[in-house]
Symmetry: none
Subunit: 239 residues, 2 copies
Amino acid sequence: MLQPSMILVNPQMGENIGGTARAMLNCGLDSLKLVNPRDGWPNERANVMSSGALEIMPEVEVFDDTASALAEYQYIYATTARPRDMVKPVLTPEQAGVDIYKRMAQGQKCAVMFGCERAGLANDDVAMAHSIITVPLNPDFASLNLSQAVLLMAYECSKHALSDVDVTNPDEAPAPMGELDNLFSRLENALADKRFFKEEHRQRATMRNIRNMYTRAELSPQEVKTFHGIISALTKNDS
Amino acid sequence: MLQPSMILVNPQMGENIGGTARAMLNCGLDSLKLVNPRDGWPNERANVMSSGALEIMPEVEVFDDTASALAEYQYIYATTARPRDMVKPVLTPEQAGVDIYKRMAQGQKCAVMFGCERAGLANDDVAMAHSIITVPLNPDFASLNLSQAVLLMAYECSKHALSDVDVTNPDEAPAPMGELDNLFSRLENALADKRFFKEEHRQRATMRNIRNMYTRAELSPQEVKTFHGIISALTKNDS
């Protein structure tokens, strides 16, 4: 599968590497590379936090330096929360997702870099990227957890990679209008019997309102039956 | 600030509550409610994992049951990974973000519910929602961490700024969930009086279906009154 790789540069906490793997696999991505992880690799905390993702994914590749990790990619994005003094296109995750998709459709190999939890990417790392990705966040509280940042990117990429899921169930199609008409007539008669319409000229407007409510609900045939049952029950005289 | 509330129902791990708070505040949201958190509240692990968010946000509100937590909201979304046998609109987080924005622009109070880590939302909780949100994920590895799920929703909401205000008639806005709860309780009692529930164990499922239909209709406060009138009329014994 052609997919963007996610590259964690100097990640500190195993938990975040595991959370990253889980988030990536949630979104159908499984190419994860690490540059010089602080606590070495493999990492037991990462395994636990990945909820099994690390066992399913191809082996994580580990590199000594950023340049080696990036060597095979044709287009590279650097994620960063603060502006850097570099002239590069700055994209939102959404824009980057579209851009990655277009490039992959042309056969380009793409990677997204993420810096360490404490300080983000070094300027030297950012300099290796073609574009910068910045998540538009609350300026007063902009520090995103590392695995959360990866999730946002993987999620935006997955909007293009994964096919749309159609969740419509044919059994949930609305009932034909004729069935609703029967229901309304019956309800109107029952209400008239109980002298619900105090002023006769209001009857039509009231019934129109009731019909509006039911129509908006797009009742299924089964639900229409349920309402017939309700009317039967409520009008039963069993004193 | 008008914003959607995030509601965690039966959350298990304090770490995830803290991660949720951090993710929300990253995206500019700070209305978090908990229903019956397993380890009580406040929670030290939540504080640590929130990276200071819980100190900045207004106090988290804790409720004993879902209905109480939802009482003030006019439109409610339930997040769920697996399909439920309920007729409700199913939205992606992206579509939900747009929908929430439109509703808030009309002054509607919105909430998004998330279930517990192990099993997600109970069917009775889902039944209280107007719409379902499902993240299109890798079908072979679809279990999203709780705080990651909240992040995706908060992030999609944060894409929309509340600038334009719609001029919808406030009389047509949905009634708060608490008013609907009263209506359902009354209807359930009336139906029970009339021995509508032939098998006692079916009562809960039947009421869930009825609640689904009414919730979908987004009844206005006036329409809720109309239904109270209908129940009064139909149950009147005037033989």
